[in-house]
């Protein structure tokens, strides 16, 4: 009788704690129904770069991908670009790629920006915001770290320091 009661109470409390925990877990990632978070498979996408070349995420399977969403008008994005460029030069030998997806801007603006900072990594142009929407990007910059198996291993919306970028590169290095 007493044992039965303890079991019943424990079970009921456990069910409720699990339900609340799961709700909180979801609420943290509730921004969008399709919010991409750590542990998810990164959805494939196809965009074109400034020169009209096709860029497909799946082609980078086997490499670590530093997927950054940015805009020329966004100051924190601008701040981290030189760091990204420098670390790209170091880590591209170690099979880490940077895909810096521009969110719905004109070729003219982006071209000027790329020339000014001498960026050499890939700049896929998300004109229709399709990728931005699919990845549930709110504020920019947002950086998503994808490992060699195409799995998301990190996501952040902060403006990155160079040290942070290095630690990210180390994390996704195959």
């Amino acid at each position: 009788m007493k044992k039965k009661r303890l079991w019943f109470r424990s079970a009921l409390l456990a069910i409720l704690v699990i339900a609340i925990g799961y709700t909180i877990y979801n609420s943290i990632f509730e921004e969008s129904g399709t919010y991409i978070k750590k542990g998810d498979a990164a959805p494939n996408f196809v965009l074109t770069d400034l020169n009209g070349n096709r860029v497909e995420l799946e082609d980078y399977r086997g490499k670590g991908v530093f997927l950054n969403f940015w805009g020329t008008w966004c100051k924190p994005c601008e701040r981290e670009m030189p760091y990204m460029q420098r670390q790209y030069e170091t880590y591209k030998e170690q099979d880490v790629e940077i895909l810096a997806v521009n969110v719905s801007e004109t070729n003219v603006s982006v071209k000027n920006f790329v020339d000014r900072y001498r960026l050499t990594f890939q700049i896929p142009m998300d004109k229709q915001r399709e990728v931005t929407k699919a990845y549930g990007i709110g504020p920019i910059p947002t950086t998503i770290l994808i490992d060699k198996n195409g799995k998301v291993v990190g996501r952040t919306s902060e403006s990155l320091s160079e040290e942070k970028i290095i630690s990210f590169m180390e994390k996704i290095k195959p």
């Binding site: 007493k2 409720l16 709700t23 399709t34 969110v103 801007e105 004109t106 070729n107 603006s109 699919a134």
Partner: protein, 543 residues
């Protein structure tokens, strides 16, 4: 922890104050009247305080804890209205900096504590969860013993129980059959045992509070399910006229939905029209009559890759008006907002300043300007810089606020046979600044605009659960408020016929029943020990 066996032979759980069967006070100092609320049952097994689970259980079993949880939730919800919620701040700003820059330190604290998206913040969900827990446990701890006590109650009650009821009388003699008949005519359910009577009416009203709590739990479950994947979608979709955009939250195995905005319509009431004339004459400006989007729904092939030019298959056409959503699958699109006359294309002419002679016209697509515009005969214009939403930044440098062409500005280079090296000019709306003494200028030659519509994309599989919870809640409230549980005991004792009565509320109604009873039968009128009007008022409010 042994059970207590009453002198009537019934075995009661530990902690019971009135015997479940006969109502005898099991503890000498127990006051019958004050114990009637939960039938004197052992509602809180405070004595089982051994394990962590039991202590947690007992904590949530307390009504006081439940009330405090409600107060904390209400206060938090009130604080959440001080500054706007995240949904209502401008879409392009980062909330991390917005709240501080807009509202100072308080704004920062507000943001850090998660008040900016209150319903989604972890501690608010924990509070609601704790309230749910409190409702479930408190109900189980009271409802089950109450049910048992009411189910096992016997016709014959202990003398002490009878005597200590608020309404009580002793009659010399009384005709049982008559009493039984009269009570049945008042729609009491009457049981008889060894010449004693027990009449009850409206027992189900005692379940009102518990039915009500079941409704609340269903309601909270529905609210919780909104956070579960696939249950709830609430997104905003902006589409420019003539364009197609993917509808957020609608990607599935068999493709992604797209929506084309064919036309956005804004109609105003005609003030001259007789019908509306008098109503509208007092209003300044125009009054909107209709906001409408004419749309076409498309779907991609199943293996659509995000970002790729979609192969679209038309699904259907539709018209969206306020309160008249466009529905497909389990989604509904609601007319939410609009933006009229967004700049789309701007035209300029290359003009020789001295003569006013023009050397060709160019049209710049503000969403995708060309780098070079060749006007022929050695005349061309290049765009050096483009600022869709021009602003001078802190360093007094030309810059752009965002990527929306609300205030477009350009740095043009103008080339002609006379100026092969090119002349530079900064051109914006009502601005034309030259780098030096230029021979040529860009003169404004017109603008094209487009309207945008904003639609709310909504899918809600939780609404019926929330509605069901609300409905059950209302049933419980009705059950408990409009009915009450009246009981009358008649017991044959040596000194005459004892009568006692109890109700959980509305003593007035019970007394009317009893007056009727003593009028029709030889039963002595029952005397109210608490005839004080104040007490009457208080107990009638006791739920």
């Amino acid at each position: 922890m042994q059970s207590i066996t009453c002198e009537c032979g019934h075995s009661n759980p530990y902690g019971t104050s009135l015997c479940q069967a006969c109502g005898k006070p099991l503890d000498n100092d127990v006051e019958v009247l004050s114990s009637m609320r939960y039938e004197g049952s052992a509602r809180r097994s405070q004595t089982y305080n051994k394990t962590f689970v039991d202590r947690t259980w007992n904590f949530f079993s307390s009504v006081r804890v439940g009330v405090w949880l409600i107060i904390i939730i209400l206060v938090a919800a009130a604080i959440g209205t001080i500054f706007p919620q995240e949904t209502f701040i401008p879409p392009n700003v980062d909330p991390a900096t917005h709240y501080e820059s807009e509202y100072g330190t308080l704004g920062l604290i507000y943001y850090l504590l998660g008040f900016h998206k209150l319903y989604g913040s972890w501690w608010f969900i924990i509070l609601l969860g704790m309230l749910g827990l409190s409702i479930i446990i408190a109900s189980l701890d009271r409802g089950i013993p109450l049910y048992k006590a009411l189910k096992t109650q016997r016709v014959t009650r202990h003398d002490q129980f009878m005597k200590k009821q608020r309404l009580f009388s002793v009659s010399k003699e009384a005709e049982l059959e008559e009493i039984k008949y009269t009570l049945e005519s008042l729609r009491y359910k009457v049981r008889e045992e060894k010449g004693n009577l027990f009449a009850e009416k409206g027992r189900f009203s005692r379940w009102g509070a518990y039915v009500n709590h079941v409704g609340l739990i269903i309601f909270l479950t529905g609210a919780m399910l909104r956070f579960f994947p696939g249950m709830y979608v609430d997104e905003i979709l902006w589409v420019r006229e003539g364009e197609k955009a993917s509808i957020p939250g609608t990607k599935s195995e068999d493709g992604q939905y797209y929506l084309e905005n064919k036309e956005f319509i804004l109609e105003m009431y005609d003030k001259e029209e007789k019908k509306f004339n008098s109503a509208l004459s007092s209003v300044d400006g125009e009054v909107a009559k209709n906001y409408q989007s004419n749309v076409t729904l498309y779907k991609t092939k199943p293996n659509h890759t995000i970002g790729e030019d979609p192969e679209l298959v038309k699904v259907k056409d539709g018209e969206i008006r306020v309160n008249e959503p466009f529905k497909f699958d389990s989604f509904a699109l609601y007319q939410t907002d609009f933006k009229l006359n967004e700049f789309n294309k701007m035209s300029f002419e290359l003009e020789e300043k001295a003569t006013g002679k023009k050397f060709g016209k160019l049209t710049v697509d503000l969403h995708e300007p060309e780098k070079k515009y060749d006007l022929g005969n050695g005349y061309r214009v290049e765009i050096e810089e483009y600022f869709p939403n021009f602003i001078l930044n802190e360093q007094k440098q030309p810059s752009t606020v965002n990527n929306l062409p609300d205030n477009p500005a350009f740095v043009f280079s103008m080339y002609s046979p006379d100026t092969p090296k090119g002349e530079k000019a900064f051109v914006g709306i009502q601005k034309n600044i030259e780098a030096g003494e230029n021979l040529f200028k860009m003169s404004f030659a017109g603008i094209e605009t487009k309207d945008l519509t904003a639609l709310t994309v909504r899918k809600d599989h939780t609404l019926w659960i929330i509605a069901l919870g609300g409905f059950i809640f209302m049933i419980g409230v009705t059950q408990g408020l409009y009915w009450n549980y009246r009981r009358i005991w008649i017991k044959q004792n040596q000194d005459g016929v004892w009568a006692a009565a109890h109700t959980n509320k509305n003593w007035y109604g019970l007394k009317k029943d009893l007056d009727f009873l003593s009028e029709k039968t030889s039963l002595a009128a029952l005397v109210d020990k608490e005839s004080d009007t104040k007490e009457e008022y208080r107990s009638s409010r006791r739920v």
